[in-house]
């Protein structure tokens, strides 16, 4: 956990810290040297080196190992305050200390590196799995409408005489529905690639949130005329300085999700409010809600609910999250007590109460 942070510290600074660690431990050893023999001191110093080895890069580790050997020799092996060692035993001891300090800490370092690599590999594998999931759901999601279009057009082209008038118009309706679906997926994929490119810069302008909500609701109702979407926006909602296009896509994705994944007669509601310079949007539905265990993950790229029906690419909600964050806001999902999901988008924005100008 702390490892990642430590690696952000420069090597020079790490060397300084490991040197300081050795000095602090050496001072402690100086204090206890009256009570213990200098061989015990060696183990205490070795402990300091091992601790350094658990956190730092290889160069600071070697610095600590070398410094501790020198400190031990200079201050603790008689004769004191010289690097001279009198007895053969102490010479051997010093050499062994040096070798153990170096090999021990290098080994620690290597194990740590291997662990990190394993973790990176796991992450890569996770990404790969996600990628596979994407390919699976995408190929399903893209191919189904294409298959529909191909089959229906083949029918119309190759055996027109066998089709009844009713059959023909049914086929045409299917083609129309399939293209709409296909277009929606392509739109999502393009939006995702906008997000992934890292070049997504909001272009802010004054936006009438009330108008935006009705406009987006209108877009949905055009394609799902039977779904009723309730809108609740206070009359005094100010203009907000934000990127209308991104916000429109966010509201659209949340609404289309609600329309697709909740029963046809259940209520969907969009509401907005503003408190000082925070605009809050709510999109509530009265469907089945989300499994509590998966709520955290639904905004992840390509994530699909475990029991999700086939259909959907797992892109819609991650685009919502990406766009909302690009706008500087947050999105929260909770299950409503009365049933259904509730998305709350909180946007800190510049607002303008320049409404109802009548002083002309």
């Amino acid at each position: 956990m702390s490892e990642l942070n430590v690696h952000k510290i420069s090597t020079g600074r790490q060397c300084l810290y490991s040197g300081l660690a050795v000095i602090v431990v050496a001072l402690f050893c100086g204090a206890i040297s009256r009570y213990v023999g200098y061989h015990v001191i060696a183990f205490v110093l070795l402990l300091a080196v091992s601790v350094v080895a658990m956190f730092f890069d290889i160069i600071p580790i070697l610095v600590a190992a070398l410094m501790s050997a020198l400190v031990w020799d200079f201050f603790f092996i008689p004769p004191y305050f010289t690097f001279t060692v009198n007895s053969t035993e102490d010479t051997i001891f010093l050499l062994i200390y040096f070798v153990v300090a170096i090999t021990g800490s290098i080994l620690t370092y290597k194990i740590r590196r291997a662990e990190m690599r394993a973790r990176a590999r796991e992450e890569r594998e996770y990404t790969f799995r996600l990628y596979n999931t994407l390919l699976n759901s995408l190929s399903h999601e893209l191919r189904t409408p294409i298959a529909t279009i191909m089959a229906a057009t083949d029918n119309l082209v190759h055996q027109p005489e066998q089709l009844t008038e009713e059959g023909r118009s049914e086929l045409l309706a299917e083609i129309s529905k399939a293209t709409y679906r296909l277009n929606h997926h392509v739109e999502n994929l393009l939006n995702m690639s906008r997000l992934e490119s890292g070049f997504l810069k909001p272009r802010n302008d004054w936006c009438d949130i009330n108008e935006l909500i009705y406009f987006t609701v209108g877009r949905i109702e055009e394609n799902y005329p039977n779904r009723k979407i309730e809108v609740e926006v206070p009359a005094d909602l100010p203009l907000a300085n934000t990127d209308r296009g991104l916000l429109e896509q966010v509201i659209f994705n949340l609404l289309i999700n609600a329309v697709i994944y909740t029963p046809g007669n259940s209520l969907i509601k969009v509401s907005a409010s503003c408190n000082e310079d925070i605009v809050t949007l709510n999109i509530d539905d009265s469907g089945g809600g989300f499994p509590e265990a998966e709520i955290e993950k639904v905004f992840d790229k390509f994530y699909r609910l475990k029991n999700a029906n086939p259909g959907g690419t797992g892109l819609g909600l991650s685009i919502v999250k990406g766009f909302v964050e690009a706008l500087g806001g947050t999105v929260l999902l909770v299950n409503r007590k009365s049933g259904g999901a509730s998305f709350t988008i909180t946007l800190p924005v510049e607002v303008s109460y320049l409404k109802n100008i009548s002083n002309e």
Binding site: T179, W206, N210, K355, I357
Partner: protein, 228 residues
């Protein structure tokens, strides 16, 4: 009566074929061009009543074609774009396009735009009044009636409504509206436009929240229509 002549400039053969069939079926004469250069020279020789111009052409950018044609061509130009970037659309409108559609579009929508552009191409002249749907604007007396009922409009609301009505069916960009109504110093003051459009809608729309006369073109501008 002569059938209106439409020139389609698009590099994609499928789209060209589809447009040809669709437009012919709706009673138009159709000519085709696959490149910008070809489009400009055909337009110069046949003087079409309307140009359908794809912005993504292989030889010249659609914007260039637009600028060049606009130097001498006064009839409506409807721009087709596959890009979703609003900048490109706003540029095209500023370069003289009368309207735009982004691909993929619905055929019904395309035909409606073509019809409305051709209708307005007939000179309005210096008419003393404009009638559109239930609205009647008496430009001499400066009186606006909705279903025969006189509306109380402020001077700015009136100016905005007249500008819209004179450009029925045409998308007017935010920048254009701000410049025309408030002046060049107000190009960054889009909040005025938002507020006045909202106020105007309250006075002329049946349901101001679901406007049918002053329609929003997301991030581009507004379009004035007859309503339903």
């Amino acid at each position: 009566m002569n059938r209106p002549l439409i020139l389609v400039i698009d590099d994609d053969i499928q789209i060209r074929r589809l447009l040809e069939i669709t437009l012919r079926a709706s009673g138009y004469e159709v000519e085709m061009a696959a490149t910008g250069r070809e489009g400009i020279s055909i337009a110069a020789s046949i003087k079409p009543d309307l140009v359908l111009l794809d912005l993504g052409l292989p030889d010249k950018s659609g914007q260039e074609v637009l600028r060049e044609i606009r130097e001498w061509f006064a009839n409506p130009i409807l721009v087709l774009s596959v890009l979703t970037g609003e900048e490109e659309i706003v540029d095209a409108l500023d370069n003289g396009a009368n309207d735009y559609l982004t691909k993929p579009y619905r055929t019904g929508e395309l035909l409606a735009r073509v019809r409305s552009l051709l209708k307005r191409a007939q000179p309005v002249g210096n008419l003393p009044s404009i009638t559109s749907g239930n609205l009647n604007i008496d430009l001499v007396a400066k009186v606006v009636k909705n279903n025969g009922e006189v509306l109380k409009l402020t001077a700015t609301e009136y100016a905005l409504l007249v500008l819209f009505a004179r450009n029925e069916g045409r998308v007017l960009t935010h920048q254009y509206l701000l410049k025309e109504i408030w002046g060049p110093g107000f190009l960054n003051q889009s909040q005025y436009l938002r507020v006045y459009v909202a106020q105007l809608r309250k006075k002329i729309e049946k349901d101001p929240n679901r406007p049918e006369i002053i329609v929003t073109e997301s991030r581009v501008g507004y379009r004035f229509t007859e309503g339903r």
